[in-house]
Amino acid sequence: MSKEKETPKYESYLDYQGKYKGIWGWVFSTDHKRIALLYLYAITAFFFVGAIIGLMMRIELSAPGETIVKAQTYNGLFTVHGVIMIFMVVIPGLSAVFGNFLLPLQIGAKDVAFPKLNRFTWWILMVGSVMAILTQFLRQGPPDTGWTFYAPYSTTTGTSVILATSAAFVLGFASILTGLNFIVTIHRMRAPGMKFFNMPLFPWAIYAASWIQLLATPIVGITLVMLIFERVFGIGFFDPQLGGDPILFQHLFWIYSHPAVYIMILPAMGVITEIIPTFCQQKIYGYRAIAISSLAIAGVGFLVWGHHMYTSGMSDQARWFFSLLTFIVAVPSAIKVFNWILTMYKGSIDLKPPFLYALFFIFLFIIGGTTGLILGSVATNVQVHDTAFVVAHFHYIIFGGMGFAFFAGIHFWFPKMYGRMYNFKRANWGAVLLFIGFNLLYFPQFIIGFQGMPRRYYDYLPEFQWAQVISTFGGFLLFIALIIMVVNLVLGAKRGEIATANPWKGSTLEWMVPSPPPLENFDEEPVVKKNPYEYD
């Protein structure tokens, strides 16, 4: 890009010197952009920790019997891996990082509705995360219940379940406040002239996800508190030995945790919906359908939690009812996939790294989603429930879906965030390696899952070993690819070329401000007259 470009004349949010110096200028900042970067760094660190634990599990599983850790340690590993990845990485992930950075920019606002609350939320997240990580070092040993905390095992095991559930509770609080902040922001702070239906689609996705965060999280919150009280005071809500009902725990847990998976995927879909039209320079196909399908996913997503419990001993009526609703919630996702692909039709496609990631996302999401259909159908669920098949399903859809969308988004908005550009060639190599490693890692799990290899197994029958070895190999490939990606991005942020305001010729408002954006985003309040996604 242009070398003659001088250092910008304005004061960008990155250079801004406030009352506090150095790192405190970040930690105490109420600027949504700075907070977004704080989230990015924190979540990257958590992701790293979780991923290393994932790799340790892979090494352990590469041979039957004891390989590197003891059974008790392994049980702690997958619990902590799940807790970190779910509550500390993917649930805050996209919405807190890109939502914070872009939501105000895309709707033409100076900041979110409650900037101080926003800062406070990040602190809460840190407190919760510290608690979660502390569980590792307590005398009782890491929690060993799985991230689902199923009673009555969780009410009786000697490990530090109380701290782990408290951590999840605190993290949930952060999630609620983020959602609250975004909903108010979207309702109250859109630029003049911007109606709901000419908002870009990423805010739409954030909006839908925020409602889930707001309405579903309290239920898991109270459930976890009940669990803690059960352990401390011997109140018997869930432990049958005390008169409780373990299946009720599962209901309450999944009333939150199923909608929670849409907290993860909706913003990811939003990111993809921004990237595809930009690189095709084509109007997004079926704007309204995509916007409304986000709400539909959020709405119906509330009612399908029982598909995690088909074999728990629910009534038969509940089984078919949940199965039916599960299938219905798949349709809005399908609509989005079709619309994305049709947007490419007759466009002018520029295959840059973000778009490459987006393509990989679509492919992996279809695999993850359609295997979700296999799980949703009662007969086949009975076969694959609680097996490696489920593990493969959700890694495909969370890592392949939300993870790849995250990488796509980082590569897409990187120039906006840092005002610099990364190396495309390295980025492409990283993406391709990541894709190969990913498939090697998780695809074999589908096969052995169908053959009956249960999940959360420290030890397994020798006939499953071939697949586990391939998986472990894939895990290392993935690791290398991620290192390439991260190094490339870090180098880019440090000494990449200076990026222009609108390197990809995007049409939404964030591209109308300089890169990196000035402290208060817009010098004058933008007035919106046209729809997003009009390229010319």
Binding site: L215, M314, S315, A318
Partner: protein, 94 residues
């Protein structure tokens, strides 16, 4: 930046509302003390619902809020009702 001038609920209205709420409270107690079988629960919950509605409408002045907020409040209650209903699909048919 308020869209509309805020509505001030008169003191008198608040007093009347309180009286209605107190009356309803005593009605519930009366109804539940006579034996009506399964109907007791329905009656008590119905009255509680009415009381809740009054509190929301007048004390929390939803009456004078935007349509959006009214819809949102209704949505929350409906969502909760649906969740309870669905959970009972399991428990009722066990």
């Amino acid at each position: 930046m308020s869209e509309h001038t805020p509505h001030i609920t008169p003191y008198r209205t608040l007093g009347i509302i309180l009286l209605i709420l107190l009356t309803l409270t005593f009605v519930t107690i009366e109804i539940t003390s006579i034996h009506l079988g399964a109907f007791t629960v329905t009656a008590a919950l119905l009255i509680a619902g009415i009381k809740g509605f009054i509190v929301l409408t007048y004390f929390m002045h939803l009456k004078h809020e935007s349509l959006l907020l009214k819809i949102l409040v209704a949505m929350v209650f409906v969502l909760f009702a649906i969740i309870v209903l669905i959970t009972f699909i399991d428990y009722a048919f066990r």
